[in-house]
């Protein structure tokens, strides 16, 4: 019995996978980073300056960070390093911005994938932590994605790195393991998000949806339209709780996977459009697309095996749930 369980656990964790999910994650996070840089460009110094020229001195946020741990990356390290070669704080901060944008372009193109992923993770983390007073959910999820991208078996075969110097593909079992980590992490995220909401009474009667959509600055939907749809608000609140709490079960079950996946993507699109949280929605859609997108079965598509350029057979379109209906 124990041996059987162990075998199933190994098979689940190290299920061979192609690198399509990695291509989606790399390109998606590259796009996310590029949008982050471009949308914050006019306010970059206002958010991260430490010399009193911003809204809040970066030094305050970094002092709070010191109370937690001295080893968390921060922009202050780069500013101090820059001062050793006589670079002003503003110059260093704009260099950080330019490097982040450069890393995002490299990630989208698949050029210098590993160094670009490490630079992107480090600089984004440093900016997010040095601006922790301005931080919200999007920073957490972007750091999670970049962390997994940085340790993933790069490059994938859609990357320019692969075209420049074709090499033997990463082991399908290793690709499968990294994919499992991302998938299970998403399940934890939605389960805890859903349970937390479900414990609040206002999600069951629609009050939370009303408050979320009518409170400034997220009140993009005209109030008269919201009011005309008020009978649907309790349903929307319950649906959000059910979608999130049920995610770890129904995303693995083959019969419900496509429905759940599309519903969750729809929920994030709705959050982006109706509340203006575009970057937050985008990063969640990217993580979902990378984690479960390649394993979706659409009408007319068949699973099978295709040869890889190195001659080894790679299994594709055989999702884990086809063999294991439940990750446990």
């Amino acid at each position: 019995m124990k041996d059987r369980l162990e075998t199933r656990a190994w098979a689940f964790l190290f299920q061979p996978e192609t690198d399509r999910w990695l291509s989606i994650l790399r390109i998606g996070l590259g796009l996310q980073l590029a949008l982050y840089c471009l949308t914050l460009r006019p306010d970059w110094l206002a958010l991260y300056a430490g010399d009193g020229s911003g809204l809040i001195s970066r030094d305050l946020a970094e002092a709070i960070l010191d109370l937690r741990s001295f080893f968390i990356p921060r922009l202050g390290w780069l500013v101090v390093s820059g001062s050793l070669v006589h670079l002003s704080e503003g110059t260093v901060l704009y260099l950080v911005w330019a490097c982040l944008l450069g890393a995002s372009v490299c990630l989208i193109a698949g050029l210098f994938c590993r160094p670009a992923a490490i630079v992107a993770w480090f600089l984004y983390l440093a900016a997010a932590k040095s601006g922790n007073l301005f931080s919200y959910g999007v920073d957490n999820f972007t750091v999670i994605g970049l962390f997994y991208l940085m340790i993933a078996p790069l490059p994938d075969r859609w990357a320019l790195d692969w075209k420049r110097s074709p090499r033997s593909s990463a082991l399908p079992a290793r690709l499968g393991f990294h994919l499992r980590v991302l998938q299970i992490h998403l399940c934890v995220i939605y389960f805890f998000g859903g349970i937390s909401k479900a414990t609040g009474g206002s999600w069951w009667n629609g009050t939370s949806i009303w408050r979320a959509l009518s409170g400034p600055p997220f009140d993009l939907v005209p109030l008269h339209l919201l009011i005309s749809l008020r009978v649907l608000l309790p349903l929307a609140g319950v649906l959000v709780c059910l979608l999130e709490t049920g995610y770890p079960i129904f995303i693995w079950w083959r019969k419900t996977r496509t429905l759940w996946f599309c519903s969750v993507i729809g929920m994030h699109l709705a959050i982006g459009i109706t509340m203006g949280l575009y970057l937050f929605s985008l990063v969640m859609i990217i993580l979902n697309l990378a984690a479960f997108g390649p394993s979706l079965r659409w009408r007319g598509r068949q699973g099978g095996v295709r040869p890889d350029p190195e001659g080894a057979a790679i299994v594709f379109d055989q999702s884990p749930a086809d063999r294991h209906s439940n990750p446990a």
Binding site: F14, D43, S69, I189, G193, S196, G200, G215, L226
Partner: protein
Amino acid sequence: MTARHRRIYLSCFVSHFLLILLAATQDLVSILSEGENIFPPAFVRVWRQADIITSTALGNRLPDANPVRQVLTAYLHDAGIESGYGFFAPNVPNSYKLVFEVRYRDGRIEYELPEVAGSAAGIRVVALLDNIESMRYELLRRTTLKMLSFAIWREHPDATAIRAVFGRVTQPPIEGFLQGKQETYEFTSAYEFSFPSPGERQTAP
């Protein structure tokens, strides 16, 4: 991939997810321990106990300089797993508003709001106001508001004092809105800061 490699991967997997689950559980029980949820008030004690246990397991009760705490916390932040996922939970919170009263020597008063150029930074300013509301350490709250006031003073160097007024904006429920009720602004705190008059040296707070 050899069995040894798989075991190494597995041990990393178990440690990583143990931390994720601990951080997520701590966030959940911390939310629950604040009340305002569907559980009876008697459960608050249980949630507080669970909060202490998970917090201890994450090393948060070790001395600040303890190397285990330092490394563990750094890893949690580096992997983006230091906090839970209770966004907008258990209920959607109120929004907050910060208004600056800019006072001049001649008695004139102007009103200003924190300003940024883009909407992406605007969302971050909203997050900042939420953070200010949740600050329990008075000196930190005061220092943060003083820095924001200083940013306003840079635009109004003739001002003699700036009063930062922080308040809560409460949306009426949908039934109240239908009866014509509007959002209400509830004052929570105010801080007055004076800055050097023109000619004196300008320094950051």
